[in-house]
């Protein structure tokens, strides 16, 4: 694991007298994969979870596309990777290799056999995603390699278990494997899948056209196998009496890591970041509340370190605080912090606006979505602007003047909701 992690910190370290909150954007860039390459195939385990509840039959293209996508993912598995396919209903069934719940090693023979098993899948039954994840967890438990990744495909809501049951499962499996979630059609719940994806430190997206599913599965599978190091965590050291107000991944998408803190040595806490590819960059927004020192004093507000699963430090950066009575220094806005503060507000404005729209609160929906249009415009987030324009009529983007549309396609609304957490990277085209 010769991967190196460069840590860059963007902040205005100057604080006015008595001020306690220190904001910084921490950019972590992994490099060195060309030397080390991705982790060995034997270290990688993949579990493909396909929803086979009754609803997958309508329209018939949905199940067909799911089968095709799963087959594409299987084809992408490198020789030597351990894998299994799980069919999910109100229960979970290992359809390949067999019901004994063990992973098998990919080769020409097992890939062909797995695809035949997928071809035989029939849609019938309910939906209990907690069951699916529990089964995946059991499969992964026997795998000794470092990289464990699941793909979860569903088309519906988690109707056959209570939210509490799902929560318990998520608490249990969080940190044991990573995973990406995909919703096909428009009958699934964005919030539900987003919650699962956050625990699995992965992405969530909507696949509107089943025909696009195969390509999506192929790319998720190959990017999971391209990871060069797994189990990376971000360690924060903060001074005595300091408090981490929040730590969020803000690029490529928003993930709040604040609650994932695992306390370590005194004044340190670790936050999981999952697996990293050899050439990958992510931004984090850190906000620490320290005990203010005197004017002219300099303080290390936080030391940010990246650690591999064995605890080896792979990279380090510093967040500073300097108190000054020079307001020209302390009032200067840091461009990176301002940008991501805006992107986070954009995401919550979209989510709150859509929620208000659903319950018929036109006033709040108009205000929130108008604010979102303005923020997306100001930050140059063209993708989000485009998605917003399908849900509202934009009269003037710079001022955020909009009108709600009477009719909005479900898929447009869900796409906007799902992708609200995808941020625009600061300073990049």
């Amino acid at each position: 694991m010769a991967l190196e992690f460069g840590v860059e910190v963007y902040q205005n370290e100057y604080l006015p007298e008595g001020s306690a909150d220190v904001d910084a954007i921490v950019t972590v860039t992994a490099s060195g994969a060309e030397k080390s390459g991705p982790v060995a195939a034997g270290d990688v385990a993949q579990v493909l979870i396909v929803d086979t509840s009754g609803s997958m039959r309508y329209p018939p293209t949905k199940l067909a596309a799911a089968k095709q996508a799963t087959a594409a993912a299987i084809d992408t598995l490198r020789d030597g990777v351990s894998f299994a396919v799980v069919a999910g209903t109100e229960r979970a069934r290992v359809v390949y290799p067999d019901a004994r719940e063990a992973l098998t090693v990919a080769n020409d023979r097992t890939r062909a056999a797995a695809k035949r098993a997928v071809e035989r899948l029939r849609a019938d039954g309910g939906t209990a995603m907690g069951q699916w994840l529990t089964t995946a967890d059991r499969l992964f438990a026997r795998h000794t390699g470092s990289l464990k990744h699941a793909i979860l495909l569903t088309d519906g809501q988690n109707q056959h278990e209570t939210p509490e049951q799902l929560t318990r499962v998520l608490e249990q499996v969080g940190g044991r494997f990573t995973g990406d979630c995909r919703g096909v059609g428009t009958d699934w719940q964005v919030g539900e899948l987003r919650r699962i994806a956050e625990v699995l430190l992965g992405t969530v997206d909507i696949v509107v056209d089943p025909a696009d599913l195969a390509e999506d599965f192929r790319s998720m599978t190959s990017s999971a196998m391209d990871k060069a190091v797994a189990g990376v965590s971000l360690r924060l050291w903060t001074p005595e009496n300091a408090e981490v107000l929040f730590l969020k991944q803000v690029s490529p998408q928003l993930v709040d890591l604040t609650g994932k803190r695992v306390a370590g040595a005194p004044r340190t806490g670790d936050y999981p970041t999952g697996a990293w590819a050899g050439a990958e960059s992510r931004d984090y927004h850190l906000c620490v509340r320290v005990r203010p020192a005197g004017v002219g004093d300099r303080m290390l507000a936080s030391r940010v370190s990246l650690l591999d699963a064995a605890g080896t430090v792979l990279g380090q950066g510093r967040v500073l605080a300097v108190w000054t009575d020079d307001t020209a220094l302390s009032t200067r806005l840091n461009a990176e912090v301002a940008h991501y503060t805006g992107q986070a507000e954009l995401a919550s404005a979209i989510q709150e606006g859509l929620e208000a729209r659903k319950v018929g609160d036109v006033e709040t929906a108009t205000a929130k979505l108008g604010r979102a249009v303005k923020l997306a415009h100001e930050s140059g987030n063209a993708d989000t602007s485009r998605l917003l324009a399908k849900v509202v009529d934009v009269e003037d983007a710079p001022t955020g003047t909009i009108k709600l549309r009477a009719r909005v396609a479900d898929e447009d609304e869900m796409t906007l909701d799902t992708r609200s957490t995808v941020t625009k990277r600061v300073g990049k085209g």
Binding site: E240, A242, G296, D297, M299, L300, A301, R303, R318
Partner: protein, 323 residues
């Protein structure tokens, strides 16, 4: 048998230098190069561990440089220098020493000019150079006035050599105030706006006049003393040490020491808050050793805002403690 204060090797009372380490045994002085280099052992929070960048492992604050706060105390003389609350660095320096068995004490305070570069280096070099000249001259029974003039000119020359040709307008510079105390007399010399006060039974007197444009204008009757306090030129120096000083000689004054009293040298970080001798007299603690007097005066300046670096050296005259 005595032992060398530097290396503890045995020395005789006749020795001028330690045979083991070469230390001058006739002289006791503050360390050349300044206080506690390179850095303090403990953070103000009490933490004693620092990372490789010098941040306290407990409270995160940067390790205090030795210069930020230093105290020195010898029999009859003590000094405290402090960064204050607003400045990023302490650009004041102090140095003092005693010639044993001759009853001689010499002390120097220099205040680096903030608008010049490497101001703390200038003030440290100035106090070290001047003290060296003063102690050497007084060891061989030199004249205090002449020693003071020589010390200032040597310090001026040394500080001038710090200047870079390409940055002449920010040539390192500093103020200067010193006292040389013998058994009968005290000689004060100064350049710039660092001050000397005499505090005796009869009250307090300022011994120096500021080399500032404002003071000059007051002397010339252009503005009143009250106006000078708030005048923006109040701190603009008319004389200093450094490459661009054009200095010919310091001002000096000598007086006979007849009664027990205290002599206070200070930078403007103190007297800004205590402009008149009566102000100093009011806050000066009585009946305590010089180091406690110096600490208390620095504390007064810190509590008043500590806008500038603060340096105070207190010298006892005839065992006086300001009572």
């Amino acid at each position: 048998m005595e032992s060398c204060p530097e290396c503890a090797a045995p020395v005789s009372s006749q020795d001028r230098f330690c045979e083991a380490c070469g230390r001058n045994l006739r002289v006791q002085r503050t360390p050349v190069g300044g206080p506690g280099s390179p850095a303090a052992a403990r953070c103000p929070c009490g933490g004693a561990e620092f990372d490789e960048d010098g941040f306290c492992a407990r409270c995160g604050r940067v390790r205090p440089a030795g210069r930020d706060r230093a105290e020195f105390s010898f029999p009859g003389v003590a000094g405290v220098t402090d960064r204050g609350r607003r400045r990023a660095r302490n650009e004041d320096s102090l140095a003092f020493g005693r010639v044993r068995k001759r009853g001689v004490v010499a002390a120097v305070v220099c205040d680096g000019v903030a608008s010049s570069e490497r101001a703390e280096q200038a003030s440290q070099l100035a106090v070290d150079t001047a003290l060296d000249v003063l102690l050497t001259a007084m060891q061989s029974g030199g004249d205090p006035e002449q020693a003071t003039v020589d010390a200032v000119l040597a310090a001026d020359a040394a500080v001038s050599r710090l200047a870079r040709a390409e940055a002449a307008d920010v040539a390192p510079s500093c103020t200067y105030v010193s006292v040389v105390l013998t058994e009968e007399t005290a000689t004060v010399g100064w350049v710039g706006d660092s001050r000397a006060y005499l505090v005796g039974e009869a009250g307090a007197t300022r011994l120096t006049t500021d080399d500032t444009w404002a003071a000059q204008l007051v002397a010339d009757g252009v503005i009143t003393a009250e106006e000078a306090l708030t005048d923006r030129r109040a701190h603009v120096l008319s004389r200093w040490l450094g490459a661009d000083s054009g200095l010919e000689a310091p001002r000096t004054m000598t007086f006979r020491v007849e009664t027990p009293s205290l002599l206070v040298l200070c930078s403007d970080g103190l007297w800004n808050y205590l402009p008149e001798p009566e102000d100093l007299l009011e806050v000066l603690p009585r009946g305590v050793p010089p180091v406690e007097v110096a600490r208390e005066l620095v504390e007064v300046a810190l509590k008043s805002g500590g806008h500038d670096n603060i340096t105070v050296v207190v010298v006892q005259l005839r065992g006086g403690n300001g009572a």
